[in-house]
């Protein structure tokens, strides 16, 4: 066993503790990730750009993320580092400035290790002829990872970086996190400064993808300047979780996902938490309305480039960005009103419960999520995640099961607006009562030495 072996399994919190007690040299830690990227990523395809050594310098003082190697979704601007959004449109774009979220992580001492793969402009169905072909799911390499922050979830799951940033306009942090067996947090709308990240501004949030809930709290601290990790240590208190049963049943999820959700609720009951069914009219409307906003804002942002350089978009991304052209201002306004109406209904329900719980995604694989039947362009596969982009409530995906095919399944918890401290606390209570987060896709080391077609 080499000294570097196992370092990639340390959480951000553990690595920080070992830096402070002197038992781990930061340079050795970062080197372990670079070695893994070079060895494993040609197969996994999660990394678009590996930072040059000069880009990895950190300041003299170590903040709470001192020397923690972070991956950044390649639609988030990084100063001096190519930011492609996995599109030929931006193949050579080197931003002059970091996005504020990246600035915040660097200020906390983080090392920007790599730019990570994604669906083109985070909107469309990936294909092998994309600028960078889609990442494989390390748990089942014949499948692609769910997106759009696919590279971020794959890289964290495989120990290619300690944590990552993604963006989420309908589930693009939470779904890949669930699909890869890691934690993904979509913060409350506008809690994190998401400017400098390419995405629909009304609904898209920058959020962390991590191995544990504690790590998500540490990254959120750096992103917001507020404290979250300390709150995780609060003792269990009387808690009530609402289950929007009718909405969940209407999705007709894969039976394995339904079973995992039932088991997760049982774990929560075992913690002394009261589980009650709740009725929130219009959650399905909110999912569709979220994607209508996404369609309209995506076309508005891309119209000039679509007209000038259509062939620089992949076919799927071009069509996904074009469909918004056919919508009217009245459509867009109605979608925003739907968000206001459903947000108020959710807030009313939150006067009687502390959290909502749902599955993360109704299907097990990326192919199923992207099939025409799933209607991904109108939010069909995002039926559980997208409503809370439009309402703005924070939502977290945590590992919550494993399918018989060996593909992870997530549990989604939703909290009150700006209630991230409570939400992270609840998520960690569940995490610590289960072992799902301790599982790693160990077969990837063997799979990467074999060729898989497609």
């Amino acid at each position: 066993m080499t000294p570097a072996e196992g370092l990639h399994l340390l959480t951000v919190a553990e690595a920080g503790r070992r830096f402070r007690d002197g038992s781990l040299a930061p340079a050795d830690y970062v080197a372990a990730f670079i070695e893994r990227i070079k060895r494993l990523d040609p197969f996994l395809r999660s990394v678009i750009t590996l930072a040059a050594p000069t880009d990895m310098e950190v300041g003299r003082w170590g903040g709470p993320l001192h020397w923690i190697p972070i991956g950044i979704k390649d639609s988030i601007a990084t100063a001096g580092m190519r930011t492609t959004a996995n599109s030929r449109v931006l193949a050579d774009w080197v931003p002059a400035e970091d996005a504020p979220s990246v600035t915040a992580l660097r200020a906390a001492g983080a090392v920007v290790l790599a730019k990570l793969n994604l669906n083109e402009f985070a909107w469309g169905i990936p294909s092998e002829d994309d600028l960078f072909p889609p990442p494989r799911n390390p748990w089942s390499p014949e499948h692609r990872a769910m997106g759009s922050s696919s590279g971020s979830a794959v890289a964290v799951a495989c120990g290619l970086c300690a944590a990552a940033l993604g963006t989420d306009a309908g589930g693009s942090v939470r779904q890949p996190a669930a699909n890869c067996g890691v934690v993904g947090l979509k913060p409350t709308h506008a809690l994190v400064d998401s400017s400098g990240a390419l995405g629909a501004p009304t609904i898209c949030e920058v959020g962390p993808i991590t191995r544990t809930v504690e790590d998500a709290a540490l990254l959120l601290e750096a992103l917001t300047g507020s404290t979250y990790a300390e709150d995780l240590r609060r003792p269990m208190r009387r808690t009530r979780i609402g289950v929007p049963r009718r909405h969940i049943d209407a999705a007709h999820s894969d039976p394995q996902i339904e079973a995992a959700f039932t088991d997760a609720l049982q774990v929560l009951r075992g913690l002394g938490i009261e589980i009650v069914d709740v009725e929130i009219e219009g959650l399905g409307d909110a999912a569709e309305a979220d994607f209508l906003v996404l369609n309209a804002e995506a076309f508005a942002a891309h119209e000039q480039t679509l007209r000038a350089r259509p062939s620089d978009y992949g076919l799927s991304s071009r069509l996904y960005h074009t469909q918004g052209a056919f919508l009217s201002a009245a459509d867009y306004m109605a979608a925003l009103v739907a968000g206001d109406v459903v947000r108020k209904r959710v807030d009313v329900v939150f006067s009687t419960i502390d959290f909502l719980a749902t599955p993360v995604v109704p299907v097990l694989t990326a192919d199923a999520a992207r099939s025409a039947k799933a209607q991904p362009h109108t939010g069909g596969a995002a039926i559980f995640t997208a409503p809370f982009n439009l309402t703005g409530h924070p939502a977290i995906s945590i590992p919550g099961g494993m399918s018989t095919e060996g593909i992870p399944i997530g549990l989604q918890l939703i909290g009150r607006a700006r209630g991230e401290a409570d939400l992270l606390w609840m998520a960690q209570q569940y995490e610590q009562a289960t072992t799902w987060h301790q599982m790693h896709p160990s077969d990837v080391e063997n799979a990467s030495s074999h060729s898989i077609g497609g």
């Binding site: 469909q323 306004m333 109605a334 739907a338």
Partner: protein, 58 residues
């Protein structure tokens, strides 16, 4: 909502001055049909009020 025909979609694209070929029209047709249906449903169920909400005085 009536089925959106390729001919109708082509005409809509022409009015919007969108440069889409036959293959793209064929793939766009069900997508545009779906988003138009969503929009129609949302306009029916979530139309913004004609009047502005009253503001409390004082």
């Amino acid at each position: 909502m009536k089925q959106l025909s390729i001919a109708r979609l082509r005409e809509m694209a022409r009015r919007l001055e969108l440069d889409v070929d036959a293959r793209e029209l064929a793939r766009l047709r069900p997508m545009v049909q779906d988003v138009l249906e969503v929009g129609q449903r949302l306009r029916r169920d979530y139309a913004p009020p004609i009047d502005r909400p009253a503001r409390r005085s004082g």
